[in-house]
């Protein structure tokens, strides 16, 4: 079958979008020919404003370059104007005589700037703001001229004025009415906008009616009805647009304020479709792109012979593209006698919000300064959402709903089913709700078990709890504020820790019996916790249980997804020598390490090591003087340092040396969770000490000690613990703080959540008294005696050998 011919007049936003939509549905149906009066491919017209403001280049705003037309077998006639549509012969003719026949025709000729018919309006330097050519004209004017006048204080006029101002011109905006953007803003918002534009240097002549353009060949000024004048060597008219339908009209198509189309985007000639700013649909001619996208979809649907889509109009909203000015409006934001309005205004922060309600539904909104909730209001307005339930907090926005205390679940209730709740495991709201309903779930743990939501990093726990209470209502058993250690017992962490000390329970078995554990062996959660609590309580006598340690700590390496391990030797304070690097390199060669990496903790990670190779590799590392880096441990990881006073021109103390001392003090220690230290040589803080569990910032007069910072999942900046004078003080405080954390925190609680739970004051108090501080530091020293026996060296020498030795069997079933 011969392909039909489809012709598009107007290579702009609406027309080409229609082709894109059509190609998605059926790329083979037509021979497509496009005529465009402008000599370019298809570009994003709305981005001309940022181009004028030098925030974008023409190249960056191209939507489809010429290659796109070639790739899609579309014939593009750029720089060609269609002057005639011969409906009888079904063909179009251009100004230079090209004739192309059509079976179906799309008219998308857009609109043209409305030029005020003033005397002198034809002078050089008087232009509109519509296309690349206009932008080029303005840009070149900025090179030779200084004064620009923009007529029209609407969206387009202000964007033009802002761009010209950015180009260094002295810009005056002339506006007929008393308030700017009067079709999009109410008076208070408009006033705030004018003030902030004035602060940026824009001048305004409000309520000024122009009467004549002055000058000889080129414009020199503008005269007003009241006889006053303003100088201008560039005059931009941005007073409105005229739908461009002259061509259609001359072909006898029915037009009013635009080409009249029905809900299928067809003109009165069913072979001829029209989309974009040149059309009038149900009485409305649009001047924004959102409606065009809807129209393009519908038009393409019919061109592809589906015939099922209808265009029923679009509700539009407005934003102004002036960098730094946030403004939003939608719907009927003025209101009438049947509407009510909720208004918030804070001149000091430049914030204004107004919502117009009718029958508890949003009819319109206008916002200035803070517009983050614009799309939320707009969505509710389009959906006709009843807002009576949260009307009193409506103005504070969507985020506020969650914690306002009024309706904690409303926020999650409002989320669509495919909204992702748990980012780690990619679990959506719908999955969770289904699981809750299907499995009759009432607790957070069950949700975790069934969906894995909130089971990894836990940052979505709050959302999941809200979903639970929303879905199961009053039956939801909220997480008790004092959590039991795990499902094996009702005892809490604190009860267990106190019990261990007070009753001198020295084995896990004794603890489990005393607290009536339901499972004799405990589980994968409580065993590591009890093992740690006992180790901390009885550092000299308790015998560590490897089988109660998570594999990383049992095997002294990080398990990888393929079952191999990683090896990270310690580099104290991040310092190293050429010889150490050479040794690491040799060892890496020897064990054919597939990948190495410099870690975020200032040392070297070797990946992909087979478990049985660990002890011999550690042996070699140990012989070269390295100890385990505990990159796998709930314990001290790294001490990050910066260059410090020895080399850095800003360094105030020997931060590197102090870091090494701190690492020598703390390495090997087992803790409730991982622990990171950093020392920065000055407040520029290159070692990022203020997001570490213990951070030191050196200053001229001594050392600031910061605690309980966290990078990771939830970033927390440290609290300032105190300031001390000497390195000895730093070391003592570090030991005391670490020990207090070891003795007080729950297992798997890092310093940040721990301090948020117990309060900084409690920690400060514990360390304030020199006696008490020394006692803590002393207890830390005792615990370090056993902890600082390098686990790698021990294992290289045969400890736990079975852990690392596989039993090898040949295919014939013989031990090898």
């Amino acid at each position: 079958m011969l392909k039909q011919n489809l012709v598009l007049i107007g290579n702009g936003m609406a027309g080409v979008r229609t082709l894109e939509e059509l190609l998605k549905l059926d790329s083979d149906l037509y021979n497509i020919t496009v005529f465009g009066e402008e000599p370019y491919g298809n570009y994003n017209r709305i981005m001309l404003s940022p181009v004028l403001a030098s925030e974008k280049t023409i190249d960056e705003i191209m939507l489809n370059d010429e290659q796109w037309y070639i790739d899609n077998n579309i014939t593009l006639h750029k720089g060609k104007k269609v002057t005639e549509i011969q409906r009888g012969r079904q063909q179009v003719v251009t100004d230079d005589g090209i004739t192309v026949p059509y079976d179906r025709l799309i008219i998308a000729t857009g609109s043209t700037p409305f030029m005020l018919p003033l005397p002198g309006a034809d002078k050089e330097g008087v232009i509109g703001f519509r296309d690349i050519k206009d932008v080029n004209t303005m840009m070149s004017a900025t090179e030779n001229y200084k004064k620009a006048v923009v007529i029209g204080g609407g969206l387009l006029g202000l964007e033009a004025a802002n761009g010209l101002m950015k180009q260094g011109m002295d810009v005056t905006v002339v506006h007929l009415g008393g308030s700017l953007m009067d079709r999009q803003l109410d008076e208070p918002a408009s006033e705030m906008l004018r003030q902030s534009l004035e602060e940026r240097g824009m001048k305004f002549l409000m309520k000024h009616s122009s009467s004549e353009v002055l000058g000889d060949e080129r414009v020199t000024g503008l005269r007003f009805n009241d006889g006053t004048e303003v100088e201008a060597d560039l005059l931009v008219m941005a007073v409105g647009i005229k739908p461009n339908f002259a061509l259609a009209k001359s072909a006898g198509l029915y037009c009013e304020r635009g080409i009249v189309v029905n809900d299928t985007m067809q003109s009165y000639d069913p072979k001829i479709y029209a989309v974009g700013e040149c059309v009038q649909h149900r009485g409305i001619a649009y001047g924004l792109v959102a409606p065009l996208w809807d129209q393009a979809k519908v038009c393409a649907n019919h061109l592809a012979n589906f015939g099922i889509a209808r265009y029923e109009g679009t509700v539009t909203s407005t934003k102004l593209k002036v960098t730094g000015i946030e403004l939003f409006s939608a719907g009927d934001f003025i209101g009438n006698e049947n509407t009510e309005e909720i208004v918030f205004k804070d001149a000091a922060t430049g914030t204004y919000k107004k919502i117009v309600l009718e029958d508890d539904k949003i009819k319109g909104a206008v916002m200035y300064g803070d517009t983050v909730d614009g799309s939320w209001y707009f969505q509710m307005m389009k959906d006709g959402t009843d807002v009576s339930a949260f009307r009193d907090t409506l103005l504070f926005g969507q985020a506020h709903l969650g914690d306002s205390g009024h309706n904690p679940e409303t926020r999650v209730a409002g989320l669509p089913d495919d909204a992702e709740i748990c980012g780690c495991n990619g679990v959506c709201k719908g999955d969770i709700v289904n699981a809750i309903n299907e499995h009759k779930i009432f607790t957070l743990d069950e949700v975790r078990a069934h969906t894995k939501a909130s089971a990894s990093c836990g940052s979505c726990t709050g959302l999941v709890e809200s979903l639970l209470s929303h879905t199961v209502g009053g039956d939801y058993s909220a997480t008790p504020s004092t959590k039991p250690v795990c499902g094996c017992t009702d005892a809490t962490h604190d009860e267990v820790r106190e019990g261990i000390i007070n009753m001198q329970l020295t084995t896990m078995k004794a603890v489990r019996e005393e607290f009536q554990w339901r499972n004799a062996d405990g589980c994968a959660s409580c065993r590591p916790a009890l093992n740690y609590y006992l180790l901390c309580a009885f550092p000299e006598t308790y015998v560590d249980d490897p089988q109660s340690r998570f594999i990383n700590e049992r095997a002294h390496g990080n398990i990888q997804k393929d079952g191999t391990y990683s090896v990270v030797p310690r580099m104290f304070g991040g310092l190293c020598t050429a010889q150490q690097l050479r040794d690491i390199a040799d060892i890496a060669d020897k064990y054919k390490v597939p990948e190495m990496k410099v870690t975020g903790g200032q040392r070297i990670d070797m990946f992909g090591i087979k478990k049985e190779d660990l002890p011999p590799m550690w042996n070699d590392l140990s012989n070269a003087g390295f100890v385990s880096g505990h990159a796998y441990a709930k314990g001290l990881r790294t001490v990050k340092t910066c260059v410090g006073e020895k080399w850095c021109r800003f360094g105030t103390q020997n931060s590197t040396g102090l870091g090494v001392k701190l690492e020598e003090l703390t390495w090997g220690s087992w803790m409730p969770h991982k622990f990171k230290i950093a020392v920065s040589g000055c407040p520029r803080n290159c070692a990022e000490a203020t997001i570490k569990d213990f951070g030191v910032v050196c200053v001229d007069s001594g050392y600031e000690l910061h605690v309980a910072g966290n990078g990771g999942i939830k970033v927390r900046v440290t609290d300032l613990l105190c300031k001390v004078q000497t390195e000895e003080d730093v070391l003592e405080y570090c030991a005391a703080f670490t020990q207090f954390y070891r003795e007080d925190a729950h297992y798997l609680e890092r310093t940040a959540p721990w301090i948020e739970r117990v309060g900084l004051a409690k920690v400060q108090k514990a360390l304030e008294e020199p006696e008490q501080r020394k006692a803590l530091a002393e207890r830390f020293a005792i615990s370090q005696k056993k902890a600082q026996i390098d686990p790698w060296k021990e294992r290289a020498q045969g400890t736990e050998a079975l852990e690392f030795a596989p039993i090898k069997v040949s295919a014939l079933g013989e031990l090898v």
Binding site: A449, H450, A520, R549, I551, A555, K561, L802, A811, G813
Partner: protein
């Protein structure tokens, strides 16, 4: 090849711990020993994402996978609800302090 192989002395499997049997021809088998000296043998691959179950923490007669915490019953090789899946179980017995193992699975892997 359903013959019994004398694989290891019972005392060389730690209580509540494991040993890996690496078989030349196929996937590894994980041996576990419970507190009352029962021994279990399962394919050393978690039904979730093939995590090495031998490296997990054992409790009672089950093991928690080290990669994403699935709990697997050692007697049947099945994951505990709500997780679903199963790994092979191998015939294993203890005689006079020796652990005997067969290299043909007793159960076909279901999922």
């Amino acid at each position: 090849m359903s013959q019994w192989i004398e694989i290891v002395a019972l005392e060389n499997i730690p209580v509540l711990g494991s040993r890996v049997v690496s078989v030349d021809s196929g996937t590894d088998i994980a041996l576990f020993r419970s507190t009352d000296d029962a021994v279990f043998a399962i394919r050393d691959a978690c039904p979730h994402k093939q995590g090495p179950l031998s490296q997990g923490i054992m409790h009672g007669t089950s093991v928690t996978c080290p990669l994403h915490n699935w709990k697997i019953d050692l007697a049947s090789g099945s994951a505990f609800a709500p997780d679903e899946g199963c790994t092979n179980v191998f015939p294993v017995k203890v005689e006079q302090g020796k652990v005997l193992l067969q290299l043909e699975p007793a159960t076909e892997k279901v999922a």
